[in-house]
Symmetry: C2
Subunit: 235 residues, 2 copies
Protein backbone atom coordinates (compact mmCIF):
# COMPACT_ATOMS: atom_id res chain seq x y z
CA UNK A 1 0.00 0.00 0.00
CA UNK A 2 1.31 3.45 -0.91
CA UNK A 3 2.13 5.62 2.09
CA UNK A 4 -0.42 8.34 1.27
CA UNK A 5 -3.74 7.73 -0.44
CA UNK A 6 -6.49 10.24 -1.01
CA UNK A 7 -9.89 8.71 -1.51
CA UNK A 8 -12.07 11.30 -3.14
CA UNK A 9 -14.34 12.15 -5.99
CA UNK A 10 -13.56 13.97 -9.19
CA UNK A 11 -14.71 17.59 -9.24
CA UNK A 12 -15.21 17.93 -5.50
CA UNK A 13 -13.91 21.20 -4.02
CA UNK A 14 -13.43 19.38 -0.70
CA UNK A 15 -11.12 16.81 -2.28
CA UNK A 16 -9.35 19.53 -4.23
CA UNK A 17 -8.45 21.19 -0.93
CA UNK A 18 -6.50 18.11 0.07
CA UNK A 19 -4.83 17.79 -3.30
CA UNK A 20 -3.65 21.40 -3.15
CA UNK A 21 -2.27 20.96 0.38
CA UNK A 22 -0.41 17.77 -0.52
CA UNK A 23 1.03 19.33 -3.66
CA UNK A 24 2.10 22.49 -1.81
CA UNK A 25 3.88 20.29 0.73
CA UNK A 26 5.42 18.16 -2.02
CA UNK A 27 3.86 14.96 -0.69
CA UNK A 28 3.49 12.11 -3.19
CA UNK A 29 0.07 10.48 -3.06
CA UNK A 30 -2.23 8.18 -4.91
CA UNK A 31 -5.67 9.55 -5.76
CA UNK A 32 -8.47 7.00 -5.64
CA UNK A 33 -11.44 8.38 -7.53
CA UNK A 34 -14.54 6.98 -5.92
CA UNK A 35 -18.18 6.88 -6.92
CA UNK A 36 -19.65 9.62 -4.77
CA UNK A 37 -23.11 8.11 -4.80
CA UNK A 38 -22.11 4.73 -3.43
CA UNK A 39 -22.72 5.19 0.29
CA UNK A 40 -22.28 1.50 0.99
CA UNK A 41 -18.88 1.23 -0.58
CA UNK A 42 -16.59 -1.04 1.47
CA UNK A 43 -13.91 1.67 1.31
CA UNK A 44 -16.22 4.21 2.94
CA UNK A 45 -17.52 1.79 5.54
CA UNK A 46 -13.94 0.88 6.39
CA UNK A 47 -12.46 4.37 6.53
CA UNK A 48 -15.31 6.73 7.37
CA UNK A 49 -18.15 4.75 8.97
CA UNK A 50 -19.37 7.79 10.90
CA UNK A 51 -19.94 10.24 8.04
CA UNK A 52 -19.65 7.94 5.01
CA UNK A 53 -18.23 10.89 3.09
CA UNK A 54 -15.15 11.90 1.15
CA UNK A 55 -12.40 13.00 1.22
CA UNK A 56 -10.54 10.49 3.34
CA UNK A 57 -6.78 10.69 3.61
CA UNK A 58 -5.17 7.37 4.40
CA UNK A 59 -1.64 7.72 5.76
CA UNK A 60 0.25 4.51 6.52
CA UNK A 61 -3.08 2.72 6.66
CA UNK A 62 -4.66 5.18 9.13
CA UNK A 63 -7.67 7.19 7.92
CA UNK A 64 -8.29 10.87 8.56
CA UNK A 65 -11.68 12.34 7.65
CA UNK A 66 -13.20 15.83 7.25
CA UNK A 67 -11.31 18.20 5.00
CA UNK A 68 -10.54 20.86 7.65
CA UNK A 69 -9.18 18.18 9.97
CA UNK A 70 -7.12 16.68 7.15
CA UNK A 71 -5.60 20.08 6.25
CA UNK A 72 -4.35 20.61 9.82
CA UNK A 73 -3.07 17.03 9.87
CA UNK A 74 -1.10 17.61 6.69
CA UNK A 75 0.38 20.83 8.09
CA UNK A 76 1.44 19.15 11.33
CA UNK A 77 2.71 15.93 9.73
CA UNK A 78 4.77 17.37 6.88
CA UNK A 79 6.29 20.35 8.61
CA UNK A 80 8.73 20.95 5.79
CA UNK A 81 7.41 22.97 2.89
CA UNK A 82 5.16 26.01 3.12
CA UNK A 83 3.04 26.29 6.29
CA UNK A 84 -0.72 26.18 5.81
CA UNK A 85 -1.29 27.79 9.22
CA UNK A 86 0.77 30.56 10.82
CA UNK A 87 2.75 29.91 14.01
CA UNK A 88 1.17 32.56 16.26
CA UNK A 89 -1.74 31.17 18.34
CA UNK A 90 -3.97 34.20 17.70
CA UNK A 91 -3.38 34.09 13.95
CA UNK A 92 -3.99 30.34 14.00
CA UNK A 93 -7.29 30.97 15.77
CA UNK A 94 -8.25 33.46 13.08
CA UNK A 95 -7.48 30.89 10.36
CA UNK A 96 -9.65 28.29 12.11
CA UNK A 97 -12.42 30.85 12.58
CA UNK A 98 -12.55 31.76 8.88
CA UNK A 99 -12.22 28.18 7.70
CA UNK A 100 -15.15 27.20 9.91
CA UNK A 101 -17.19 30.16 8.71
CA UNK A 102 -16.52 29.29 5.08
CA UNK A 103 -17.81 25.76 5.56
CA UNK A 104 -20.66 26.40 7.94
CA UNK A 105 -22.06 29.70 6.69
CA UNK A 106 -20.59 30.76 3.38
CA UNK A 107 -20.83 27.53 1.43
CA UNK A 108 -24.47 26.75 2.35
CA UNK A 109 -25.49 30.34 1.54
CA UNK A 110 -23.75 30.37 -1.85
CA UNK A 111 -25.16 26.95 -2.73
CA UNK A 112 -28.66 28.03 -1.80
CA UNK A 113 -28.28 31.23 -3.81
CA UNK A 114 -27.54 29.11 -6.88
CA UNK A 115 -30.13 26.40 -6.38
CA UNK A 116 -33.17 28.02 -4.82
CA UNK A 117 -35.73 30.35 -6.32
CA UNK A 118 -38.00 33.22 -5.26
CA UNK A 119 -37.94 34.50 -1.72
CA UNK A 120 -35.61 31.76 -0.53
CA UNK A 121 -33.10 32.74 -3.18
CA UNK A 122 -33.34 36.44 -2.34
CA UNK A 123 -32.61 35.63 1.28
CA UNK A 124 -29.68 33.40 0.33
CA UNK A 125 -28.24 36.10 -1.95
CA UNK A 126 -28.48 38.63 0.85
CA UNK A 127 -26.80 36.27 3.30
CA UNK A 128 -24.08 35.42 0.76
CA UNK A 129 -23.39 39.11 0.20
CA UNK A 130 -23.10 39.76 3.92
CA UNK A 131 -20.58 36.95 4.39
CA UNK A 132 -18.59 37.90 1.29
CA UNK A 133 -18.31 41.43 2.70
CA UNK A 134 -16.62 40.06 5.81
CA UNK A 135 -14.25 38.04 3.61
CA UNK A 136 -13.52 41.09 1.45
CA UNK A 137 -12.62 42.96 4.63
CA UNK A 138 -10.09 40.37 5.77
CA UNK A 139 -8.25 40.63 2.43
CA UNK A 140 -7.47 44.31 2.97
CA UNK A 141 -3.77 44.88 2.24
CA UNK A 142 -3.16 41.23 1.49
CA UNK A 143 -2.56 39.20 -1.66
CA UNK A 144 -3.91 35.97 -0.18
CA UNK A 145 -5.94 35.26 2.96
CA UNK A 146 -2.69 33.71 4.15
CA UNK A 147 -0.71 36.92 3.45
CA UNK A 148 1.98 36.72 0.77
CA UNK A 149 1.40 33.01 0.26
CA UNK A 150 -1.50 30.61 -0.03
CA UNK A 151 -2.62 29.37 3.39
CA UNK A 152 -5.39 27.22 4.81
CA UNK A 153 -8.12 29.86 4.35
CA UNK A 154 -7.25 30.26 0.66
CA UNK A 155 -7.42 26.51 0.19
CA UNK A 156 -10.75 26.23 2.02
CA UNK A 157 -12.15 29.19 0.05
CA UNK A 158 -11.34 27.56 -3.28
CA UNK A 159 -15.05 26.77 -3.80
CA UNK A 160 -15.69 30.51 -4.12
CA UNK A 161 -13.07 31.18 -6.75
CA UNK A 162 -14.03 28.45 -9.18
CA UNK A 163 -17.02 26.30 -8.22
CA UNK A 164 -19.29 29.18 -7.18
CA UNK A 165 -18.28 31.33 -10.14
CA UNK A 166 -19.41 28.53 -12.47
CA UNK A 167 -22.59 28.09 -10.41
CA UNK A 168 -23.45 31.78 -10.38
CA UNK A 169 -22.96 31.95 -14.15
CA UNK A 170 -25.29 29.00 -14.70
CA UNK A 171 -27.86 30.46 -12.30
CA UNK A 172 -27.62 33.90 -13.89
CA UNK A 173 -26.62 35.57 -10.62
CA UNK A 174 -24.53 38.68 -9.98
CA UNK A 175 -23.67 38.04 -6.33
CA UNK A 176 -19.88 38.05 -6.59
CA UNK A 177 -18.70 40.62 -9.13
CA UNK A 178 -15.56 42.70 -9.56
CA UNK A 179 -17.56 45.85 -8.90
CA UNK A 180 -19.05 44.66 -5.64
CA UNK A 181 -15.99 42.79 -4.35
CA UNK A 182 -12.77 44.14 -5.92
CA UNK A 183 -10.47 42.53 -3.34
CA UNK A 184 -12.10 39.12 -3.66
CA UNK A 185 -11.91 39.45 -7.40
CA UNK A 186 -8.18 40.18 -7.23
CA UNK A 187 -7.73 37.29 -4.85
CA UNK A 188 -9.53 34.89 -7.19
CA UNK A 189 -7.28 36.01 -10.00
CA UNK A 190 -4.11 35.51 -7.95
CA UNK A 191 -5.28 32.18 -6.59
CA UNK A 192 -6.42 30.66 -9.86
CA UNK A 193 -3.22 31.76 -11.57
CA UNK A 194 -0.93 30.16 -9.02
CA UNK A 195 0.84 27.36 -10.89
CA UNK A 196 -0.18 24.56 -8.52
CA UNK A 197 -3.84 25.58 -8.71
CA UNK A 198 -3.95 26.32 -12.42
CA UNK A 199 -2.37 23.01 -13.34
CA UNK A 200 -4.68 20.90 -11.21
CA UNK A 201 -8.14 22.45 -11.37
CA UNK A 202 -10.79 20.20 -12.91
CA UNK A 203 -11.53 21.37 -16.48
CA UNK A 204 -14.23 24.04 -16.54
CA UNK A 205 -16.35 22.46 -19.28
CA UNK A 206 -16.56 19.10 -17.53
CA UNK A 207 -17.40 20.76 -14.20
CA UNK A 208 -20.00 22.98 -15.88
CA UNK A 209 -21.67 19.91 -17.36
CA UNK A 210 -21.77 18.25 -13.93
CA UNK A 211 -23.26 21.38 -12.34
CA UNK A 212 -25.83 21.71 -15.10
CA UNK A 213 -27.11 18.22 -14.40
CA UNK A 214 -27.28 19.04 -10.71
CA UNK A 215 -29.11 22.31 -11.30
CA UNK A 216 -31.65 20.54 -13.48
CA UNK A 217 -32.18 17.87 -10.83
CA UNK A 218 -32.70 20.58 -8.19
CA UNK A 219 -35.15 22.42 -10.42
CA UNK A 220 -37.04 19.18 -11.10
CA UNK A 221 -37.20 18.57 -7.36
CA UNK A 222 -38.84 21.94 -6.85
CA UNK A 223 -35.80 24.18 -6.79
CA UNK A 224 -35.75 24.11 -3.00
CA UNK A 225 -32.02 24.05 -2.92
CA UNK A 226 -32.11 22.90 0.69
CA UNK A 227 -29.81 20.03 0.12
CA UNK A 228 -30.58 19.21 -3.47
CA UNK A 229 -27.31 20.50 -4.78
CA UNK A 230 -25.39 18.40 -2.37
CA UNK A 231 -26.53 15.18 -3.94
CA UNK A 232 -24.35 13.03 -1.77
CA UNK A 233 -21.50 15.41 -2.27
CA UNK A 234 -18.28 14.77 -0.40
CA UNK A 235 -17.05 16.87 2.45
Amino acid sequence: MAEVKLIGAWGSPFCFRIEVALKLKGVEYEFIDHDVHNKKSPLLLKYNPVHKKFPVLVHNGKPICESLVILEYIDETWEKGPSLLPKDPYERAMVRFWAKLLDEKCLPALRKACLSRGEEQDKAKEESTEILKFLEGTLSGKKFFGGDNIGMVDIVANFISYWFIIGQELAGLQVLTKEKFPKLDEWMDEYLNTTIIKENLPPKDKLTAMFKARFEAAAAAGGGGGGGGRGGAPK
Copy 2:
Protein backbone atom coordinates in the same frame (compact mmCIF):
# COMPACT_ATOMS: atom_id res chain seq x y z
CA MET B 1 -8.88 45.90 31.36
CA ALA B 2 -8.17 42.47 32.77
CA GLU B 3 -5.90 40.34 30.60
CA VAL B 4 -8.47 37.59 30.02
CA LYS B 5 -12.19 38.13 29.79
CA LEU B 6 -14.83 35.59 28.90
CA ILE B 7 -18.04 37.06 27.60
CA GLY B 8 -20.71 34.43 27.91
CA ALA B 9 -24.10 33.52 29.24
CA TRP B 10 -25.01 31.69 32.38
CA GLY B 11 -25.98 28.06 31.87
CA SER B 12 -24.51 27.74 28.38
CA PRO B 13 -22.59 24.49 27.79
CA PHE B 14 -20.52 26.34 25.16
CA CYS B 15 -19.36 28.93 27.68
CA PHE B 16 -18.80 26.24 30.28
CA ARG B 17 -16.32 24.60 27.89
CA ILE B 18 -14.17 27.71 28.01
CA GLU B 19 -14.46 28.06 31.76
CA VAL B 20 -13.31 24.46 32.24
CA ALA B 21 -10.34 24.94 29.89
CA LEU B 22 -9.24 28.15 31.61
CA LYS B 23 -9.57 26.61 35.05
CA LEU B 24 -7.65 23.46 34.00
CA LYS B 25 -4.87 25.70 32.73
CA GLY B 26 -4.96 27.84 35.84
CA VAL B 27 -5.69 31.04 33.89
CA GLU B 28 -7.30 33.87 35.85
CA TYR B 29 -10.20 35.43 34.00
CA GLU B 30 -13.17 37.70 34.41
CA PHE B 31 -16.54 36.27 33.41
CA ILE B 32 -18.93 38.78 31.88
CA ASP B 33 -22.43 37.35 32.00
CA HIS B 34 -24.32 38.69 29.04
CA ASP B 35 -27.97 38.70 28.07
CA VAL B 36 -28.07 35.93 25.47
CA HIS B 37 -31.10 37.39 23.71
CA ASN B 38 -29.59 40.80 23.05
CA LYS B 39 -28.23 40.38 19.53
CA LYS B 40 -27.57 44.08 19.15
CA SER B 41 -25.43 44.39 22.22
CA PRO B 42 -22.45 46.71 21.61
CA LEU B 43 -20.18 44.05 23.11
CA LEU B 44 -21.30 41.48 20.54
CA LEU B 45 -21.15 43.89 17.64
CA LYS B 46 -17.65 44.85 18.70
CA TYR B 47 -16.24 41.41 19.35
CA ASN B 48 -18.22 38.99 17.19
CA PRO B 49 -19.91 40.93 14.38
CA VAL B 50 -19.93 37.88 12.12
CA HIS B 51 -21.83 35.41 14.28
CA LYS B 52 -23.16 37.69 17.03
CA LYS B 53 -22.86 34.76 19.42
CA PHE B 54 -21.17 33.80 22.66
CA PRO B 55 -18.76 32.74 24.00
CA VAL B 56 -16.11 35.30 23.10
CA LEU B 57 -12.72 35.15 24.77
CA VAL B 58 -10.99 38.51 24.90
CA HIS B 59 -7.26 38.20 25.51
CA ASN B 60 -5.29 41.44 25.81
CA GLY B 61 -8.12 43.19 23.99
CA LYS B 62 -8.20 40.72 21.08
CA PRO B 63 -11.36 38.65 20.61
CA ILE B 64 -11.52 34.95 19.74
CA CYS B 65 -14.89 33.44 18.82
CA GLU B 66 -16.34 29.93 18.42
CA SER B 67 -15.83 27.57 21.32
CA LEU B 68 -13.78 24.94 19.43
CA VAL B 69 -11.47 27.66 18.11
CA ILE B 70 -11.14 29.17 21.59
CA LEU B 71 -10.24 25.79 23.14
CA GLU B 72 -7.35 25.30 20.71
CA TYR B 73 -6.27 28.90 21.28
CA ILE B 74 -6.17 28.32 25.04
CA ASP B 75 -4.15 25.14 24.59
CA GLU B 76 -1.61 26.85 22.34
CA THR B 77 -1.37 30.09 24.34
CA TRP B 78 -1.03 28.66 27.85
CA GLU B 79 1.20 25.71 27.14
CA LYS B 80 1.88 25.14 30.82
CA GLY B 81 -0.70 23.10 32.65
CA PRO B 82 -2.48 20.03 31.32
CA SER B 83 -2.69 19.71 27.52
CA LEU B 84 -6.16 19.77 26.02
CA LEU B 85 -4.91 18.15 22.80
CA PRO B 86 -2.27 15.41 22.49
CA LYS B 87 1.04 16.11 20.72
CA ASP B 88 0.85 13.45 18.01
CA PRO B 89 -0.62 14.80 14.73
CA TYR B 90 -2.83 11.75 14.16
CA GLU B 91 -4.22 11.84 17.68
CA ARG B 92 -4.79 15.59 17.33
CA ALA B 93 -6.72 14.92 14.12
CA MET B 94 -8.88 12.40 15.97
CA VAL B 95 -9.63 14.97 18.69
CA ARG B 96 -10.65 17.53 16.07
CA PHE B 97 -12.76 14.95 14.27
CA TRP B 98 -14.73 14.01 17.40
CA ALA B 99 -15.10 17.60 18.57
CA LYS B 100 -16.52 18.54 15.17
CA LEU B 101 -18.84 15.54 15.19
CA LEU B 102 -20.11 16.42 18.65
CA ASP B 103 -21.04 19.93 17.57
CA GLU B 104 -22.27 19.25 14.07
CA LYS B 105 -24.07 15.92 14.45
CA CYS B 106 -24.46 14.86 18.06
CA LEU B 107 -25.70 18.09 19.60
CA PRO B 108 -28.38 18.81 16.96
CA ALA B 109 -29.63 15.21 17.16
CA LEU B 110 -29.84 15.19 20.96
CA ARG B 111 -31.55 18.58 20.98
CA LYS B 112 -34.09 17.45 18.43
CA ALA B 113 -34.72 14.24 20.35
CA CYS B 114 -35.68 16.38 23.36
CA LEU B 115 -37.70 19.04 21.61
CA SER B 116 -39.51 17.38 18.72
CA ARG B 117 -42.44 15.00 18.73
CA GLY B 118 -43.82 12.10 16.69
CA GLU B 119 -41.95 10.82 13.67
CA GLU B 120 -39.36 13.60 13.82
CA GLN B 121 -38.56 12.67 17.40
CA ASP B 122 -38.27 8.96 16.57
CA LYS B 123 -35.81 9.78 13.81
CA ALA B 124 -33.80 12.05 16.11
CA LYS B 125 -33.69 9.37 18.82
CA GLU B 126 -32.42 6.86 16.29
CA GLU B 127 -29.76 9.25 15.01
CA SER B 128 -28.73 10.13 18.57
CA THR B 129 -28.36 6.46 19.43
CA GLU B 130 -26.22 5.82 16.37
CA ILE B 131 -23.84 8.68 17.23
CA LEU B 132 -23.70 7.75 20.91
CA LYS B 133 -22.67 4.23 19.87
CA PHE B 134 -19.67 5.65 18.03
CA LEU B 135 -18.76 7.69 21.11
CA GLU B 136 -19.19 4.65 23.36
CA GLY B 137 -16.77 2.79 21.08
CA THR B 138 -14.06 5.43 21.37
CA LEU B 139 -14.15 5.18 25.18
CA SER B 140 -13.17 1.51 25.13
CA GLY B 141 -10.36 0.99 27.64
CA LYS B 142 -10.23 4.67 28.57
CA LYS B 143 -11.34 6.69 31.58
CA PHE B 144 -11.81 9.90 29.61
CA PHE B 145 -11.98 10.59 25.90
CA GLY B 146 -8.59 12.20 26.50
CA GLY B 147 -7.19 9.02 28.11
CA ASP B 148 -6.25 9.25 31.78
CA ASN B 149 -7.06 12.95 31.91
CA ILE B 150 -9.74 15.31 30.68
CA GLY B 151 -9.00 16.54 27.17
CA MET B 152 -10.70 18.64 24.53
CA VAL B 153 -13.24 15.97 23.54
CA ASP B 154 -14.34 15.57 27.17
CA ILE B 155 -14.79 19.31 27.46
CA VAL B 156 -16.74 19.55 24.21
CA ALA B 157 -18.89 16.56 25.20
CA ASN B 158 -19.92 18.20 28.47
CA PHE B 159 -23.38 18.92 27.04
CA ILE B 160 -24.05 15.17 27.01
CA SER B 161 -23.10 14.53 30.61
CA TYR B 162 -25.20 17.23 32.21
CA TRP B 163 -27.31 19.33 29.83
CA PHE B 164 -28.70 16.43 27.82
CA ILE B 165 -29.31 14.28 30.89
CA ILE B 166 -31.50 17.06 32.30
CA GLY B 167 -33.21 17.46 28.93
CA GLN B 168 -33.90 13.76 28.47
CA GLU B 169 -35.38 13.57 31.97
CA LEU B 170 -37.70 16.49 31.25
CA ALA B 171 -38.68 15.00 27.89
CA GLY B 172 -39.23 11.56 29.41
CA LEU B 173 -36.68 9.91 27.10
CA GLN B 174 -34.51 6.85 27.63
CA VAL B 175 -31.94 7.50 24.91
CA LEU B 176 -28.79 7.56 27.05
CA THR B 177 -29.04 5.00 29.86
CA LYS B 178 -26.51 2.98 31.82
CA GLU B 179 -27.87 -0.22 30.27
CA LYS B 180 -27.50 0.95 26.70
CA PHE B 181 -24.24 2.87 27.11
CA PRO B 182 -22.25 1.58 30.10
CA LYS B 183 -18.96 3.24 29.04
CA LEU B 184 -20.58 6.63 28.47
CA ASP B 185 -22.32 6.27 31.81
CA GLU B 186 -18.99 5.59 33.55
CA TRP B 187 -17.44 8.51 31.71
CA MET B 188 -20.23 10.88 32.82
CA ASP B 189 -19.69 9.78 36.37
CA GLU B 190 -15.94 10.34 36.20
CA TYR B 191 -16.30 13.65 34.41
CA LEU B 192 -18.97 15.13 36.67
CA ASN B 193 -17.06 14.08 39.76
CA THR B 194 -13.82 15.73 38.73
CA THR B 195 -13.27 18.54 41.22
CA ILE B 196 -12.99 21.34 38.65
CA ILE B 197 -16.22 20.26 36.96
CA LYS B 198 -18.20 19.51 40.13
CA GLU B 199 -17.35 22.83 41.69
CA ASN B 200 -18.29 24.91 38.68
CA LEU B 201 -21.33 23.31 37.05
CA PRO B 202 -24.43 25.51 37.03
CA PRO B 203 -26.87 24.32 39.73
CA LYS B 204 -29.20 21.60 38.42
CA ASP B 205 -32.44 23.14 39.72
CA LYS B 206 -31.76 26.50 38.06
CA LEU B 207 -30.78 24.84 34.78
CA THR B 208 -33.83 22.58 34.91
CA ALA B 209 -36.08 25.63 35.33
CA MET B 210 -34.44 27.29 32.33
CA PHE B 211 -34.87 24.15 30.20
CA LYS B 212 -38.50 23.77 31.29
CA ALA B 213 -39.29 27.25 30.02
CA ARG B 214 -37.53 26.44 26.74
CA PHE B 215 -39.37 23.13 26.34
CA GLU B 216 -42.69 24.87 26.92
CA ALA B 217 -41.84 27.53 24.37
CA ALA B 218 -40.89 24.83 21.83
CA ALA B 219 -44.12 22.92 22.51
CA ALA B 220 -46.15 26.13 22.12
CA ALA B 221 -44.38 26.75 18.81
CA GLY B 222 -45.46 23.36 17.54
CA GLY B 223 -42.78 21.17 19.07
CA GLY B 224 -40.81 21.21 15.84
CA GLY B 225 -37.56 21.42 17.65
CA GLY B 226 -35.82 22.57 14.49
CA GLY B 227 -34.12 25.44 16.13
CA GLY B 228 -36.58 26.24 18.85
CA GLY B 229 -34.38 25.00 21.60
CA ARG B 230 -31.52 27.13 20.48
CA GLY B 231 -33.34 30.35 21.17
CA GLY B 232 -30.38 32.53 20.41
CA ALA B 233 -28.16 30.17 22.29
CA PRO B 234 -24.47 30.85 22.32
CA LYS B 235 -21.91 28.77 20.49
